[in-house]
C-alpha cells in the first residue's frame, strides 16, 4: 500500500476511535434506567457521566433563561450627594427613553443635563469636578455594581442548588442567567429579582403618626376634593362574617375620581394591585368629613394599627405620593406597607407604617441568616429567619435598642415591613429574628438572599424563556425521530440512485454525523432543538458533496476514461464546487451565530461543524476507500 494511503487510513481510524470514545458517555447515559441512575447518583458517579455527555440546551432539558438589566438610574441616585425632585424628574424621563430604546444610560444622562444647562457635579463628585471626570467615576461605579451583582447572584443561585447554572454579564447593564432543570421557575425568579435590601427603621411615635394622618385628612377635605357624585353604589359591608366587635360601618363604593376630584384615570403605582380597580371601599359614615380616614381602618384589636383594605391600597398609595401631601410629612419620615396581607373576616388588609427614612442598621452588618421554626409563644410553629450581626453591627444594634425601649423597630426588606416588634429591652448580642413570612419557601428564600447580600441596584427581568421538562422531552423525541427517518430516507435514496457508490456515501454520512456528535460532546457545545434541526439539515446537505463527485465521475466515465482516471477526475473537479457550497452556507451560519438567540446559536453551531466535518468525510474518507479498492485490482466498471 502506498505511504500516503496508509497515513490517511490511519488518521481516519484514529478519528473514528476518538469519536466512539467521546460519545460513549452519552450512549451509556441514554441507556440507563431511572433505577440505575439513582444507583450511580448515590455513588457520586452520575454527575461526571452527565458532564461528559452531550450537553442539552434549556429547550431540551427544561429550565429557565433570564436576561436581567441592572437599574442604573437607581444606582446613581443612591450614590448622589443629594437628591431632589429635579433629579427625579430627569431620571424618570431617561427611564422612559431607555424603556424603548437601547441607548447608553450615561450618555443620555449627560445629554439631559446639558439640555438643562446643569453640571453633573451638582449631584456627584466634588464641586468643580468636570463632567468627564464624573462620568468616568460613574462608569467605574456601574462596573463595580455589575461585578458585585454577578457575584451576589452567583451566590444566591449556588445556595439555591441548581445544577450547572450559568451567569454571565453582557455589556455594561445586562446579566444573562440560565438555570437548567428547574420545573417551577417562580421561586428562582423571586430569588434573583429580590434586591434584598434589609433595613431596620424606627417606627415613628404613634402620636406623631396620628397627627400627620389628621393633617392629610384635613388637606383632602379642604380642597373640596369630593364633590357629590351622581352615581354612587351603596355596598353594605358584610359584617355578618366578621365575628369580632369591629366597629359597624356602612361601606359604600365610590369611584376613585370622586376622591381625587379630577377626571384622571387611576394608575396604580404598586404592581401587585389589580390593574383595573377604580373603586374603593369607604366607610360611609365618615366619608364626607374625613375622606382620608374613611379609607383606613383601625385594627388595633387584631394586633395591627393603621390598616387599609386591599381594595383601597392603590388609592391610598396615590394620595401619599402626591407632592402636596408629601409636604405634610416630616422630612425624615416615610410611609411603608406591610409585606404580609392579613385577613379580618374575609377581607384582606395591609398595615401602613410611618417610619424613619434613615435606617439604624442595614443588611451589610449581617453575618448569618438561618431559617428556623419559631419557638416562642408568638411565633410557635411558624417559619422565622434568625440573623446574627457582626461586631460593629451588634454594637449599633445594642445602642439603638437600648435607647428606644418601648418603641417599635420595623424590619424592612425591599421597602416592605416584615414585622415591627416592640423593643422590650436592650439587645446586646446582635441577634434577632425576622418574622412575617407566609411560608417556609419564602423564609428559605429570604435567608438565602440575606446571606448572599443585597444587590447594589435593583434588577429587572427584560427577557425570560421557560421551557417545561415535558416539552423538552417531546422535542428530543420528535427531533430524534425526524433525524432517524431523514437519515433512513437519504440512505435508501443514495443506494437506489448510485448503487454501491451510494452505499459508500452513506458510510461517509454515518461517520460525518458520528464525528459531529463527538465534537459536540468533547468540546461541550450545547445541543438545542434548532441544533437537532441543524443535524437533520446536515444529513441532507452532507450527501450533496458526494452527489457532486459521483455525478462528475459518471460524466468522466462516459467520456471513456478508465475507472481510476474517472475517479481521479471526479474528485479533483468537484472539489471547488463542494468547497464553495459549504463555504457559503457556513458564512450565513456564522452571521446567525453572532446575532441569534441561544437556541438559534445551537443551530448555527451544529450546521457549521457538520459541514466542516463533511468536507473531510465526504471527500477524504470515500476517496481513501476507493483508493484501497483500486490499488488492489484494476476495475473495469464502477457501480455508480
Amino acid at each position: 500500500m502506498q505511504r500516503k494511503l496508509l497515513v490517511r487510513t490511519v488518521i481516519i481510524v484514529l478519528l473514528v476511535g476518538w469519536a466512539v470514545y467521546a460519545l460513549w458517555p452519552t450512549y451509556k447515559l441514554n441507556r440507563l434506567t431511572p433505577d440505575q441512575k439513582n444507583l450511580l447518583s448515590a455513588r457520586g458517579q452520575l454527575v461526571p457521566l452527565i458532564d461528559r455527555s452531550i450537553r442539552l440546551g434549556l429547550d431540551l432539558q427544561g429550565g429557565i433563561y433570564l436576561t436581567l438589566e441592572v437599574d442604573l438610574p437607581m444606582l446613581i441616585t443612591q450614590i448622589a450627594r443629594t437628591t431632589d425632585t429635579r433629579l427625579d424628574t430627569i431620571l424618570l424621563q431617561i427611564r422612559q427613553e431607555l424603556n424603548v430604546r437601547n441607548e447608553d444610560f450615561l450618555n443620555l444622562l449627560v445629554e439631559h443635563f446639558r439640555r438643562r444647562g446643569l453640571a453633573l457635579n451638582e449631584y456627584w463628585g466634588e464641586r468643580g469636578d468636570s463632567d468627564g471626570k464624573i462620568i468616568a467615576s460613574l462608569e467605574k461605579e456601574a462596573k463595580d455594581a455589575m461585578d458585585r451583582s454577578l457575584e451576589i447572584l452567583r451566590n444566591r443561585v449556588d445556595q439555591f442548588g441548581v445544577s450547572e447554572p450559568s451567569i454571565q454579564h453582557i455589556g455594561s447593564m445586562r446579566i444573562l442567567i440560565e438555570l437548567p432543570g428547574l420545573s417551577d421557575p417562580t421561586q428562582a425568579k423571586n430569588l434573583i429579582g429580590k434586591t434584598a435590601l434589609l433595613e431596620f427603621c424606627l417606627v415613628k411615635d404613634p402620636a406623631l403618626y396620628s397627627d400627620v394622618l389628621q393633617k392629610i385628612d384635613k388637606a383632602l377635605a379642604r380642597k373640596g376634593a369630593i364633590p357629590v357624585a351622581e352615581t354612587i353604589e351603596t355596598v353594605k359591608a358584610d359584617t355578618s362574617k366578621s365575628k369580632t366587635a369591629m366597629k359597624q360601618s356602612k361601606d359604600k363604593t365610590v369611584s376613585v375620581n370622586e376622591i381625587f376630584g379630577d377626571r384622571a384615570t387611576v394608575q396604580p403605582s404598586r404592581k401587585d394591585t389589580a390593574a383595573n380597580d377604580t373603586s374603593a371601599l369607604v366607610d360611609e359614615n365618615i366619608f364626607k368629613e374625613n375622606p382620608f380616614f374613611s379609607l383606613l381602618r383601625n385594627a388595633q384589636q387584631f394586633g395591627h394599627e393603621v390598616s387599609v383594605p386591599e381594595k383601597n391600597i392603590a388609592v391610598v398609595q396615590r394620595i401619599l405620593e402626591r407632592p402636596d401631601i408629601q409636604k405634610l410629612l416630616p422630612p425624615d419620615a416615610q410611609f411603608l406597607w406591610s409585606s404580609e396581607t392579613f385577613k379580618i373576616g374575609d377581607e384582606p388588609y395591609k398595615e401602613l407604617f410611618m417610619v424613619n427614612k434613615e435606617p439604624e442598621l442595614t443588611g451589610k452588618y449581617l453575618t448569618n441568616a438561618q431559617v428556623t421554626i419559631g419557638s416562642d409563644a408568638e411565633n410557635a410553629g411558624r417559619p422565622v429567619v434568625s440573623f446574627a450581626l457582626n461586631r460593629p453591627g451588634a454594637r449599633i444594634f445594642s445602642r439603638v435598642t437600648g435607647a428606644n425601649i418601648q418603641k417599635r423597630l420595623a424590619i424592612v426588606l425591599d421597602k416592605n415591613v416584615f414585622s415591627a416588634p416592640n423593643i422590650i429591652a436592650k439587645i446586646p448580642n446582635g441577634s434577632g429574628i425576622i418574622t412575617g413570612m407566609p411560608d417556609m419557601d419564602e423564609a428559605k428564600l429570604i435567608s438565602i438572599v440575606l446571606r448572599a447580600g443585597a444587590l447594589p441596584a435593583p434588577v429587572s427581568v427584560i427577557e425570560e424563556r421557560t421551557v417545561g421538562p415535558s416539552l423538552g422531552r417531546d422535542s428530543i423525541q420528535s427531533g430524534t425521530l425526524a433525524a432517524a427517518l431523514g437519515a433512513a430516507l437519504v440512505v435508501l435514496f443514495m443506494i437506489f440512485y448510485y448503487r454501491a457508490a451510494g452505499f459508500l456515501a452513506d458510510f461517509a454520512l454515518f461517520l460525518n454525523i458520528m464525528i459531529l456528535l463527538a465534537v459536540l460532546a468533547q468540546f461541550r457545545f450545547t445541543l438545542t432543538m434548532p441544533g437537532i434541526a441543524g443535524i437533520v439539515l446536515t444529513i441532507g446537505m452532507a450527501v450533496d458533496a458526494n452527489v457532486l463527485i459521483f455525478e462528475r465521475i459518471r460524466e468522466e466515465l462516459k467520456t471513456g476514461k478508465t475507472v481510476r482516471a474517472s475517479i481521479e477526475a471526479g474528485y479533483t473537479k468537484a472539489f471547488s464546487a463542494i468547497f464553495d457550497s459549504n463555504f457559503t452556507t457556513i458564512i450565513s451560519s456564522i452571521a446567525l451565530y453572532w446575532l441569534g438567540t441561544g437556541p438559534v446559536k445551537g443551530f448555527a453551531v451544529t450546521l457549521t461543524i457538520g459541514l466542516l466535518i463533511n468536507m473531510f468525510t465526504a471527500i477524504v474518507v470515500t476517496r481513501t476507500i476507493y483508493d484501497h479498492i483500486t490499488s488492489r485490482k484494476t476495475l473495469t466498471n464502477l457501480s455508480i
Binding site: A275, I462, E463, G468, Y497, D544, L595
Partner: protein, 309 residues
C-alpha cells in the same frame, strides 16, 4: 439509475415563462402579506408574553377567554396548537412589565374558572420591548450582512454580473419562503430568520455550480455563443442540481412532519427554500446573466473566458 440522461432543454428560450412564474408567485406573497396586515411576528420581535398550556382534557378557547377576561386580559390572542387541548396564549406588553406576575395571575384565573381541568404550562416566553427591538435589528443586520458577504465572495470568484444575478436569485428565494409562511400564517421568529439565512447560504450553492460550469464551458467551447454555453452548462448540471435539492427537501419534509411544533415554521421555510433554490439556479442565474449581458455588451460575454481560475 439515472434520471436525466443528458437533457437538451433550451432554458434560455423559455425563460420568459419562468420570469412570469416567479413574478406571479412573488405577487402572491405580497398579496398575502397585505391581506394579513403585515407579517405574523412572533414575540421575539413583537415583545410580550406567550404561554403554551396543555390541558389534560378538552377545553374550549371560549372558556379560556372567559377566564382571561376576569383578570383584564380578555384581549389576548388564544391559539390552538394542533390538538384541541393545547393552547398558546399571547399577551401584549403589560404596563409595569412584570412577567412572573402575569403568568401567576393567568394560572390562578385558569384554575379558578375552569375548575376541574388540570393543566401543565409547557413553555413561557417573555420578551421586553427593548429586547424585541434589538432582535429585530439583529435579524435584519444578519440577513443584510450575509447577502453582502456572499455578493462580494461571488464577485471575487466570478464576475460582478454573476454576483448581482446570483444575489437577485437569493432575494427571490427568501421572499418566496417568506410569502409561503405568510400564506399559511406561520409565526416569524428568530428560528424562521435562521431558515432564511440558511436558504441564502444554501441556495447560492447550486447557482455557483452552474456558474462554475459556465466558466468551464466558456473555455472548452470558445467558439460558441453565450446562449448555447449557458444552456449547455445548465443541462449538464441539471442532474446534480435537482438531486442535491432533493436530498435536502426530503429531510426537511421529514422534519416538518415529525419534528414537532418547535421547528414547524423553520422546516416549512426550508422546504420552500430547497425548491426555489433549485428552481432559481436552473434558470434564474443563467437567464438573468444572459439578459444582462445581452443588454449591455455582447463582447463582454467573451471576456469571461479570461477570468482567473
Amino acid at each position: 439509475m439515472q434520471f436525466f440522461q443528458l437533457p437538451h432543454i433550451d432554458f434560455i428560450a423559455i425563460r420568459k415563462y419562468f420570469y412570469g412564474l416567479s413574478i406571479s408567485l412573488m405577487l402572491l406573497g405580497i398579496v398575502s402579506i397585505i391581506a394579513h396586515k403585515g407579517l405574523n411576528l412572533g414575540i421575539d420581535f413583537k415583545g410580550g408574553t406567550a404561554m403554551a398550556i396543555r390541558f389534560e382534557k378538552e377545553v374550549t378557547t371560549h372558556s379560556i377567554r372567559l377566564a382571561l377576561e376576569k383578570i383584564g386580559l380578555g384581549e389576548s390572542e388564544i391559539k390552538t396548537l394542533g390538538t384541541s387541548n393545547e393552547f398558546l396564549i399571547y399577551m401584549k406588553q403589560q404596563k409595569g412589565f412584570s412577567a412572573s406576575e402575569v403568568v401567576k395571575r393567568v394560572q390562578t384565573a385558569l384554575t379558578e374558572s375552569i375548575p376541574d381541568a388540570k393543566y401543565e404550562v409547557r413553555q413561557v416566553e417573555t420578551v421586553g420591548p427593548k429586547i424585541g427591538q434589538e432582535l429585530r435589528k439583529n435579524a435584519m443586520i444578519a440577513v443584510v450582512v450575509s447577502l453582502l458577504v456572499i455578493m462580494f465572495y461571488l464577485a471575487w470568484r466570478f464576475e460582478f454580473i454573476f454576483s448581482a444575478c446570483g444575489v437577485l436569485g437569493l432575494f427571490h428565494d427568501t421572499f418566496l419562503a417568506l410569502g409561503v409562511l405568510s400564506i399559511f400564517n406561520f409565526e416569524i421568529s428568530m428560528k424562521e430568520i435562521a431558515a432564511f439565512l440558511t436558504i441564502v447560504g444554501y441556495s447560492i450553492n447550486d447557482t455557483i455550480v452552474v456558474y462554475d460550469r459556465i466558466r468551464e464551458n466558456m473555455k472548452i467551447h470558445r467558439g460558441d455563443d453565450l446562449k448555447s454555453v449557458i444552456n449547455r452548462s445548465v443541462n449538464e448540471t441539471l442532474s446534480r442540481t435537482i438531486i442535491t435539492a432533493l436530498t435536502v427537501f426530503l429531510v426537511v419534509v421529514i422534519l416538518f412532519i415529525f419534528g414537532g411544533p418547535v421547528v414547524k415554521g423553520f422546516s416549512l421555510a426550508m422546504m420552500v427554500g430547497a425548491v426555489t433554490g433549485c428552481y432559481s439556479s436552473i434558470y434564474l442565474g443563467g437567464a438573468l446573466a444572459y439578459d444582462w449581458h445581452m443588454r449591455h455588451d455582447v463582447k463582454r460575454a467573451f471576456k469571461m473566458s479570461k477570468m482567473k481560475k
